[in-house]
Symmetry: C2
Subunit: 172 residues, 2 copies
């Protein structure tokens, strides 16, 4: 299971980069443009994804969920204000941190107890939760694509099936 | 890996039902309402997800990818015209077919060779591709949430993390 969770995370990095590459092709103002949607703008969506991913690796590294949520809240405003290139860099450095962490195989199946403020304690592992980080990213990439279309622009392909074809067909 | 893929699919069924439950609370016309987004309406998004999922289980059951794509094309118009309750029923029956198929453990790791019209042959297994079915569903649930907000309505929570908390905390 852990190898699969690691591979899914690598897909997540590829999919985020597809979105950044596409956003950098568009007029600069699109990134902060107000759009009536799930979030006020695409920068708000990417900040939310970044701060969630940051929160989870803090939890994986021993922080409590409430401390991780507090950290995210503290960084929210400054993260939302960033420009697309700065955001791309933040995502890149965070993915490097994840990859370093996930390469320590013993981390993947280390038992975790997560105290959720609203629903008690969950006993889990990093490899069980990592698919949530990826699934959460996919969900918000789905938001971003709809928001881009709403603003009149196409998005970028980010399907896991496409990623599998690209990575596996080359090796075939 | 296969148990995890099965569990991820069960999450997908739960997440789809969350969306159907929410859509059924809203004014009936929302389902077919034209919205400038990734698809012309929410019914088009759910039809696309349904026909993709149908296509994949046909491939898992031995059909070629091009035959499965042809089947989806054939059913497209009639699927898009369905009302929300009919769509919910289609999804339910398809998920029962998936669960029956996935309970045959030997199916999960059966070698598959998939001829993609545009990028050659991929050697894979059902359990390796199943996460694509789920990830694809999550992506389009992300579209639907943005489309609902665009139309002025909140969506429903469908996070994998929430699903894990709900299913694991009860058993703790």
């Amino acid at each position: 299971m852990s190898d699969f969770a690691f591979k899914l995370y690598e897909y997540n990095v590829w999919a985020n980069q597809q979105i950044f590459n596409r956003l950098k092709e568009l007029p600069k103002e699109i990134y902060h443009q107000e759009i009536q949607s799930v979030f006020p703008s695409i920068s708000h969506v990417l900040s939310h994804v970044y701060l969630s991913d940051l929160g989870w690796i803090e939890v994986f590294s021993g922080k409590t969920l409430s401390d991780a949520l507090a950290l995210a809240e503290q960084l929210k405003e400054q993260t939302e204000a960033k420009e697309i290139e700065e955001m791309e860099d933040l995502f890149l450095r965070l993915s490097e941190r994840y990859i370093l962490f996930l390469q320590q195989k013993e981390q993947l199946n280390k038992p975790l107890q997560i105290q959720n403020p609203s629903s008690g304690i969950m006993k889990t592992t990093v490899s069980e939760l990592l698919p949530h980080v990826v699934n959460h990213g996919t969900y918000h990439r789905g938001n971003i694509t709809a928001m881009l279309r709403q603003a009149g622009y196409a998005s970028a392909p980010t399907d896991y099936g496409l990623y599998l074809f690209m990575t596996k067909t080359e090796k075939a």
